[in-house]
């Protein structure tokens, strides 16, 4: 399997605090890669660095060999990095129009954009809600708008930031297959999730972060039996990591 995204020594300091320090990893093309870690571990900061909303202090980010490190966010999006946000804040327009926004970067005609947006809404099963305002939708549906908007940028790599958080078990069961479906359509996925069951069920490999550093990487089984990971979550006296 070849590497789609290669991150090397990525570091971000906020004042004296290293929110992300010396993080290196690869995302393989076509995989679902989970990213877990306790609160404040630097997961969302890492997403902000990859999508370009934050500038890194050092290190490099390469997508298919192209260096993204110095690119503004909109160019990274054009290169194929899509993302969702942990806190869903849909634009104040209809569901369909929300999805049309990114499509308008490729298609200038509103009619074409509408058609494309509708196709994506069908994929996330929101086609019946196309003309509704996002505020009238459930959280689970609003999270799917986020996914639909990100898909509309035609990403090669999709960064999903807690698309399952805050959903009840039946909604999780409803949204979970969507992640697999998106991957099967040819999009590589890196996703942050706190729901362990969901994470373990769906990801092929898992990265674990703690206090800004990457402390483990492997299959779900390997990671859950890793002593450092257990320590990070449960706070036992640390053996040598």
């Amino acid at each position: 399997m070849d590497d789609l995204l290669v991150v090397r020594n990525l570091t971000k300091n906020f004042g004296g605090l290293a929110a992300v320090s010396e993080v290196s990893f690869e995302v393989r093309r076509g995989e679902i890669l989970g990213l877990i870690g306790p609160n404040g571990a630097g997961k969302t900061t890492l997403f902000n660095l990859i999508s370009g909303l934050l500038a890194s202090n050092q290190g490099s980010i390469k997508l298919e060999g192209e260096d993204l490190t110095k690119m503004p966010p909109y160019r990274r999006s054009a290169m194929g990095v899509g993302r969702t946000f942990q806190v869903v804040r849909p634009f104040d327009m209809t569901v369909l129009e929300n999805v049309m926004v990114p499509i308008f970067t490729h298609y200038k005609s509103a009619k074409e954009a509408k058609g494309k947006a509708y196709e994506i809404l069908e994929m996330v099963r929101l086609e019946n809600m196309a003309d509704s305002m996002p505020s009238s939708l459930t959280l689970a549906q609003r999270k799917r708008i986020e996914v639909a908007r990100a898909l509309a940028t035609k990403p090669k790599l999709l960064l999903l930031d807690e698309v399952l958080a805050g959903l009840n078990p039946s909604e999780v069961a409803e949204n979970l297959p969507l992640i697999r479906q998106v991957r099967d359509s040819g999009v590589t996925i890196l996703f942050i999730e706190h729901l362990m069951d969901a994470m373990m069920a769906i990801s092929e490999r898992v990265l674990v972060m703690d206090q800004g550093a990457l402390i483990a990487c492997g299959t779900p089984d390997e990671v859950t039996s890793d002593q450092c990971v257990i320590t990070a979550y449960l706070g036992e006296e640390a053996p040598e990591c």
Partner: protein, 327 residues
């Protein structure tokens, strides 16, 4: 059916507006209408950056640049204002370019403050650059009637010119809002980071919005000066008349919408004249007290502006709204 009704209503309104000068020969009424049209156009132009959440209090800068460009060309060099229209538009857009570099990345109140400073600096320049602008004395447009000089013996031509400007700017604003640029601006206004992550070059969108807005403001200013014959720095770069008033109209009518500026200008222009006339004579500045109170009331009770109160009349029935949950 619905669209037919709208077309009929629009046609009746258009005919009515076209007929006004034929039935109302009073110069006061004609002047009032003309002023309302000018302010609809100015407010609608001011409102374009507001699609993207940028709140300017410096549009007097673009107004003054457009007004001075055409007037200097005419008064000093004898060049027809018909050419001055283009010169005024371009000069105002250049002002927009200058303003965009430092400001387009500033957010919220910082953009607004910097826009005020920009207009004030230009006013100072207009006062001090006497060889070009005649300083505080200002420039007088000589009365030589004729289309080439944009000077007329009656108020009627300017009534139609102002009406045409208002319609033009409304149509442009509507077109921009429903185009890719409009969607990108609205996305940026709602959530700048999300818009960037979705591949939108938000700085570029704000820049284009400012170009449209500044250019149109400069163009309107050229006509306004030739309607008024006089031009001096205090008026051309007037914060009250061309920065605050359009912003005021926009907030009260409904910022970031197509029809908000229209409603705002229709209500505020006659009201402003009335207040200036009656309250301004009792105690100077009293009219602004009323403005302030209105602003507080609207921002507190109808934050979406008057257009948001009227929205239910216009909105089509939303199909999917009733069933909030899907399958």
């Amino acid at each position: 059916m619905r669209t037919n009704k709208i077309i009929v209503a629009a046609a009746i309104l258009a005919l009515g507006l076209l007929a006004v000068p034929l039935y109302f020969t009073s110069t006061f009424i004609l002047h009032m209408f003309t002023l309302v049209f000018f302010y609809i156009a100015l407010t609608a132009a001011w409102n374009i950056p507001a699609f993207g959440g940028k709140f300017s209090l410096g549009h007097a800068a673009f107004f003054g640049l457009g007004a001075y460009a055409a007037s200097i060309l005419y008064v000093k060099y004898g060049i027809s204002p018909l050419i001055g229209i283009f010169a005024g538009t371009v000069c105002a857009m250049l002002g927009g370019v200058i303003l965009s570099f430092p400001l387009i990345r500033l957010k919220g109140p910082f953009f607004t403050l910097a826009s005020i400073a920009f207009a004030e600096v230009l006013r100072m320049v207009a006062i001090d650059w006497r060889s070009m602008t005649n300083g505080s004395v200002g420039l007088n447009i000589p009365f030589k009637p004729g289309w080439l000089n944009l000077t007329f013996t009656s108020g009627m031509p300017f009534y139609y010119i102002a009406l045409g400007l208002a319609v033009l700017v409304i149509l442009l604003a509507w077109w921009i809002r429903s185009s890719a640029l409009g969607y990108h601006l609205r996305a940026a206004a709602a959530d700048e980071d999300a818009a960037k992550a979705l591949g939108i070059n938000t700085a570029k969108s704000h820049f284009f919005a400012l170009m449209w807005s500044s250019g149109l403001t400069g163009m309107i200013a050229v006509f306004y000066v030739f309607y008024n014959y006089v031009l001096e720095p205090g008026t051309a770069f007037s914060m009250d008349l061309f920065s605050l008033q359009p912003a005021m109209n926009g907030i009260i009518g409904g910022m970031g919408t197509v029809w908000g500026p229209v409603i705002g200008a229709i209500i505020m222009t006659p009201l402003g004249e009335f207040l200036r006339f009656y309250l301004g004579t009792i105690q100077q500045g009293l009219n602004f007290v009323v403005y302030g109170l209105m602003l507080i009331a609207v921002v507190n009770f109808v934050p979406g502006g008057i257009v948001s109160l009227m929205a239910p009349w216009f909105k089509k029935k939303k199909s999917g709204e009733s069933s909030a949950r899907d399958n």
